[in-house]
């Protein structure tokens, strides 16, 4: 059933499912209800048709191959680095951490080391917050801890505060982190979506706070550039513009 629903046609009615599977309607309905209860299947509120649910897509560590994401985002990651004059990273979730799948140096020809393959903490990076905000299961898991690892005096270690922060991230559509991982450094990230609107990664710029921030937040121009970069990559991946 899941294979049918994730196939080309995407959305199927109960009658169509019954026809395709060759099972009694009652049996099919029972299976559908079970799958809906665990989030593997969703019912479209308008058409009443069934489709695969978000939980299914969250089963794997990442839904789009990191190498694929890097290749597809290459030009616009460069664009973001050139536009903001800061280094750019692309990250996906991997075993509860942020895996850096792409890294563009700050375009000033200073010595820098490629960080592809590095793992970063989810709760202390802008990329991590973006990915967590759209991954309720992992966020819940973190919430069960008493305290999260501390890196600086600004790291959010209280799971309750993190939950509030993630709500804010979801609402505003981007995340920032100011001296939460490294003293004197900040980062700002936005989500990358695929054609189904599923978040497949995050793109971030990072750098020293005196360049990145104005007061306690990143410059609005920089935030706008990060969001525009994320939107353009998403559009290239087939996401409907938003």
């Amino acid at each position: 059933m899941l294979r049918l629903l994730s196939g080309r046609s995407g959305r199927l009615s109960l009658a169509e499912l019954t026809g395709e599977l060759g099972l009694p309607k009652g049996t099919v309905y029972g299976i559908v209800r079970t799958l809906i209860s665990v989030g593997f299947v969703e019912q479209d509120p308008e058409s009443g048709k069934y489709r695969t649910g978000a939980a299914l897509l969250h089963l794997g560590s990442s839904y789009l191959d990191g190498n694929e994401l890097r290749a597809r985002a290459l030009n616009w990651s460069d664009w973001l680095a050139a536009r903001t004059n800061e280094s750019v990273r692309l990250g996906t979730l991997h075993d509860g951490q942020v895996l850096v799948v792409h890294h563009v140096f700050r375009p000033d020809n200073s010595p820098q080391v490629l960080e592809v393959g590095a793992l970063l903490p989810v709760h202390a990076t802008a990329m991590g917050k973006v990915l967590l905000a759209h991954h309720p299961y992992l966020a819940d898991e973190l919430g069960n801890n008493d305290a999260l690892p501390r890196f600086t005096t600004s790291t959010i270690t209280d799971p309750g505060l993190l939950t509030l922060e993630l709500e804010r991230v979801r609402e505003q559509g981007w995340a920032s982190e100011v001296q939460e991982l490294i003293d004197g450094e900040a980062s700002c990230a936005a989500p990358i979506r695929d054609r189904r609107g599923i978040i497949v990664g995050a793109i971030a710029i990072s750098g020293p706070i005196d360049r990145l921030c104005e007061g306690s937040e990143p410059h609005s121009k920089l935030i706008a550039a990060v969001r525009e970069g994320a939107r353009t990559i998403s559009r290239d991946l087939g996401a409907v513009p938003w």
Binding site: E68, N75, D78, F105, L114
Partner: protein
């Protein structure tokens, strides 16, 4: 994309580059800082009429080019008035012959990878050897170059040769075909002309000895122009924008990497891969299997020359692995598959699909996978596919070091395959020098934009352009010397096993 910065005269305008490649055509729009503003791309059909033959439909390519220019403008929220100029970079050597009156091609374009001229090329070299024309044109006799393709084409159907001699047919590489259709002028640029085997490297004009020997009538040839100069205004569909540059794609990439001075080099990793070294205002003859070619000619300035190591099959091996073998669903997945294993499992893949290009120039070679045992898995195959690109680069870098007498100290890499981290790391490992990628991986387009922008005064000089080059990534060598040497030894043995495969009665 963003067009909201302060509106001032030139700094608010843009240059568009058309990159008419082997696999696709794209258009990129750049701002005055050399940053990408928007992009559009469309693939065209690869026509394989027989083993070894590769063709394109010139009309399809022309339609795609017009479409991607429009597409790039649309996605950037721009129109033709925002453009100061258009520059063209193109797949080189690919040969089109068309009717001067109707504009209809008389045959599909014969693509650079096509080996149908093998017999003709061997006959031309029979008494005098493969380097018969090297002094005049800088090239060895090989199926790669345009001249023999034109000659084959004129003999492919009755009456064509006579019509060509009567001035009814025109020849051009892709730059000529596009410029003729966009401006009505029959011209080519000197870098493209240097790939035909018909141009004299010293005079930069068509060479009557070469024309007579290869059998191409002079009347069908375009006029040779500098790479950076206003060729004309685009009529009709492209809204009157000046076409202000044309370069072969690899020369464009050399320019886009700002390798303006003698001694500067780059390698572009696309369908094939091409290492070019700027040798200044003097053609340097190769003693080690490289090509001598024109690098660029800006207006009335003297031409700069380059040494080139051409590798026919690199990215196209990944594509073959995806489309014909089916072990991966997309090109980047080759890295994922390759990372499922630690090493190549002892196998070496020499993709001599079109024979071997530099530094071997062996039309009689065909591909092999050497070292197969029952131990080998698909992961090892994926590794060998990627390593093939690196080892082939090693061969041309060795030839380049030998010819130029200077050792390469770092490699400037660009093109689509630079998205592959495993490959870039392995490349640094087998070359034993750092590999760096610039902030614009699309250097082909950037170079065409630079050349066009210079012609119309959008940029004052090449020094201004140098300031736009920034390092975006760097891979440092990590492999130990003995592993590198052993790998290279095995690679060379595998190369030996590709040779002398094609027989006279093969077709």
């Amino acid at each position: 994309m963003e067009t909201c910065e302060e509106r001032t005269a030139l700094s608010d305008r843009y240059v568009a580059a058309i990159d008419q490649g082997t696999a696709s055509s794209r258009c990129l729009v750049f701002d005055q800082q050399g940053r990408i503003v928007s992009l559009s791309q469309k693939e065209h059909e690869q026509i394989f009429p027989r083993p070894g033959w590769v063709e394109h439909d010139p009309q399809e390519i022309l339609r795609n080019v017009v479409q991607v220019v429009r597409g790039a403008l649309d996605s950037g929220g721009l129109d033709f008035r925002d453009l100061v100029a258009i520059g063209i970079a193109n797949q080189r050597e690919t040969t089109v012959v068309w009717d001067r009156r109707t504009g209809q091609p008389v045959h599909n374009a014969i693509v650079w990878q096509d080996t149908r001229t093998d017999g003709l090329v061997r006959r031309l070299g029979a008494e005098h050897g493969q380097d018969r024309f090297r002094d005049r044109c800088g090239l060895p006799l090989a199926t790669y170059f345009s001249g023999p393709k034109v000659s084959w084409l004129l003999d492919s159907a009755p009456g064509l040769r006579r019509r060509a001699e009567d001035g009814e047919l025109l020849f051009g590489t892709m730059d000529s075909w596009l410029v003729w259709n966009l401006t009505g002028r029959h011209v080519t640029d000197v870098t493209n002309a240097s790939r035909t085997m018909l141009m004299n490297l010293e005079t930069l004009d068509w060479d009557d000895t070469l024309l007579a020997a290869i059998g191409v009538p002079r009347v069908m040839l375009p006029t040779i122009q500098p790479s950076s100069r206003i060729y004309g205004e685009a009529v009709g569909s492209l809204g009157g924008v000046p076409i202000a540059a044309a370069l072969g794609d690899q020369q464009a990439a050399l320019f886009g990497q700002t390798c303006f001075s003698a001694g500067e080099a780059k390698c572009t990793y696309g369908t094939g891969s091409f290492l070019l070294l700027n040798t200044g205002n003097r053609p340097v003859r190769s003693g080690h299997g490289l090509l001598t070619t024109v690098g660029c000619k800006i207006g009335d300035e003297p031409a700069t020359y380059a040494l080139e190591g051409s590798i026919a099959v690199t990215g196209s091996l990944v594509q073959w692995f995806r489309d014909k073998v089916g072990l991966i669903g997309s090109a980047p997945e080759v890295e994922t598959l390759a990372r499922t294993v630690e090493d190549n499992g002892g196998i070496y893949f020499v993709p001599a699909f079109s024979g071997l290009f530099a530094p071997h120039w062996r039309g009689d070679a065909r591909g092999v996978i050497a070292g197969l045992t029952g131990y080998v898995t698909k992961g090892h195959l994926a590794r060998a596919v990627l390593e093939a690109t690196a080892w082939q680069t090693r061969e041309v870098v060795d030839a380049m070091n030998a010819d130029s007498g200077i050792e390469l100290t770092s490699l400037k890499a660009d093109g689509g395959m630079t998205a592959n981290n495993l490959l870039m790391q392995f490349l640094a490992d087998v070359l034993a020098v750092p590999v760096v990628r610039p902030i614009v991986a699309e250097t082909v387009s950037l170079g065409a934009a630079y050349a066009a922008g210079l012609a119309v005064g959008f940029w004052p000089d090449t020094e201004t352009l140098r300031a736009n080059w920034h390092k975006a990534a760097e891979w440092l060598p990590q492999m130990d010397g003995s592993a590198r040497d052993k790998g290279y030894r095995k690679w060379k043995k595998a190369v030996q096993r590709t040779l002398d495969w094609v027989d006279d009665d093969d077709d």
